[in-house]
Amino acid sequence: MTPRTLFDKIWDEHLVATRSDGTSLLYIDRHLVHEVTSPQAFEGLREAGRPLRRPNSILSVADHNVPTAEREQGIEDETCRLQVEALESNVKDYGVPYLPLLDDRQGIVHVVGPEQGFTLPGTTIVCGDSHTSTHGAFGALAFGIGTSEVEHVLATQTLPQRKSRNLQVRFEGTLPRGLGAKDMALALIGRIGTAGGTGHVIEFTGSAVRALSMEGRMTLCNLSIEGGARSGLVASDETTFAYLLGRPLAPRGALWEAALTHWRTLVTDPEAAFDSEVTLDVASLAPQVTWGTSPQWVTDITGRVPDPDAAASTDDRLAMLRALEYMDLRPGTPIEAIGVQAVFIGSCTNGRIEDLREAAAVARGRKAAPGVRVLVVPGSGLVKRQAEAEGLDRIFLEAGFEWRQPGCSMCLGMNDDRLAEGVRCASTSNRNFEGRQGRGSRTHLVSPGMAAAAAVTGHFTDVRCLMGV
């Protein structure tokens, strides 16, 4: 048999039919649904009088629109409330499993899926959300889809697909202390650009990936989409299995054993060829900070804001000039000299327990710098509970940080958590696009440790200096 990559294997196992027009019909095992991209899909189903094929293949939760304070009192913003209510009535009508707003297990869909053991190796997972790539950390083929495709999956449990190309990204070496998966991902996007992975599924390999925890692998795969790739994959291994064992929706007993036997075969064959490959040495990485309005515009904390005059082309130069104007930055400014007024710690990129531990380790015994507002938003109710059991909430509160209820929050500001015009923010989220966190807001993407370091010093600071590294 021809050697196959992990992606090839998952693809082959899910192929329902190859159609005469050359497209493949791929079976979808798992479907995550949230309030923003699903109402029109349910409406389409209803209008066509189609049944929902497999309600039990879905896990639904509201996350984008939800308030992160005083939730018990309901959602004040009417449009947000209507959207959450629409989800609640749709899941009720169609018998879809749902985690209500006040349930401890509610949270960002990409944090909740893995936590519940809904995300399993070798499965196909979709969601009307581009960061579905997160679930690839479990060796699952997971990708974001549009609302029409959501409707397609609700109705048929399949999607017509064209096979992507295989890109191998190899991270080798030992990550220095104070650095994490966020730095690896940002460095990669800086290297390949936001369109570098277009048309590809990335498989992350190498010793530095093997050494990552599940949380770190999720951060890495989460950011695949920012490199243009719809999916990122990390082959499952003992770290994956240890994470999944005993999760509420993970298989048990004999089924667990059978699953394990199969999952162990889901690795890229040694002889398999990738369409392209990129290798990064992580030993020489420094903490990463974005300076522009695209995740690819990133540099080391020890670096400076680049000079557009050094750009490769006129188009690049103009784009950089525009970005620097938007960000209100001058070429040559040391990154460490850039002050912040806001810090956001959370999102499906960095809202898991390990991320909060990393931020708390820096915040412990320190205070937010004067004039800096710091929001800490756990990725789910279970993350929140765990953090509170470990006393992380007290560390944050003593440092003058706000400790919130779970949701997407200021990652995109669909709820009230928004930045005012011109406010500069160190954010652990995934997008620094113009206006992403609020009209005219200025976002710098960093790791949780770096975000906490900016919070307590008031400007970007090498987290390693605060850790005594």
Binding site: E13, V16, A17, R19, D21, G22, L25, V36, T37, P39, Q40, E43, N56, H64, N65, T79, Q83, A86, P97, L99, L120, T123, G128, D129, S130, G144, G146, T147, S148, E149, H152, A155, T156, Q157, T158, P160, R162, T194, A195, T198, G199, G228, R230, P248, W256, A259, H262, S294, D315, A319, R322, L412, M414, R431, F433, E434, G435, R436, R439, G440
Partner: protein, 201 residues
């Protein structure tokens, strides 16, 4: 779905690279429960000021481009989120074809589900089309863009072309495979029984 065959119209140039979905339609408009009515908020943040007044410099606010049905853009158009609100907003405004050197994957797929045609052309072609005074024709059967004496051929996957030309409903097409899907499900239950999902406790 409304078929796409041949389109002749004004092409508005917005020649930036990496036009993301947040720029096409910002989050505050994702709270809608319907697909229509988003056209007036297309490119909201660069089209209007903080008080909702039109910014005269923005291309779609200029008299000659107000009725544009074609958009010319830089590479990696539609990067960012999966929101189908982006093609919905473009379509609601009246845009039916987007010409750019490259597109982000999810946006590209979302276009076809809504009868929009994304055409990949080299940047030089886009730039010369931006200089054309009159209307431009996007001819899908001939796979050609013409205007101002210029003509550029483009490629498109045959399956995608058919979907647009005939205005096909993808779900209906897939329903032709329902027996295959059922057979697959039976087989999977035997081969991978651990995939059966337990009900949430």
């Amino acid at each position: 779905m409304e078929p796409f065959v041949t389109l002749t119209g004004i092409a508005a140039p917005l020649l930036r690279a990496n036009i993301d979905t947040d720029l096409i339609i910002p989050k505050q408009f994702l709270k809608t429960l319907v697909r229509s009515g988003l056209g007036r908020n297309l490119f909201q943040e660069v089209r209007y000021d903080g008080e909702g007044r039109e910014l005269p410099d923005f291309v779609l606010n200029q008299p000659r481009y107000r009725a544009a049905s074609i958009l010319l853009a830089g590479p990696n158009f539609g990067c960012g989120s999966s929101r189908e609100h982006a093609p919905w907003a473009l379509k609601d405004f009246g845009i039916r074809a987007i010409l750019a050197p490259s597109f982000a994957d999810i946006f590209f797929t979302n276009c076809f589900a809504n009868g929009l045609l994304p055409v990949a052309l080299p940047m030089e072609a886009i730039e010369s089309l931006a200089g054309v005074e009159g209307p431009i024709t996007v001819d899908l059967p001939a796979q050609q863009v013409r205007g101002g004496g210029l003509a550029f051929s483009f490629t498109i996957e045959p399956a995608r072309k058919t979907v647009l030309l005939e205005g096909l409903d993808e779900i209906k097409r897939t329903e032709a495979n329902l027996a295959d899907i059922a057979a697959y499900e039976v087989r999977r239950r035997v081969e991978a029984p651990w995939l059966e999902i337990r009900t949430l406790p």
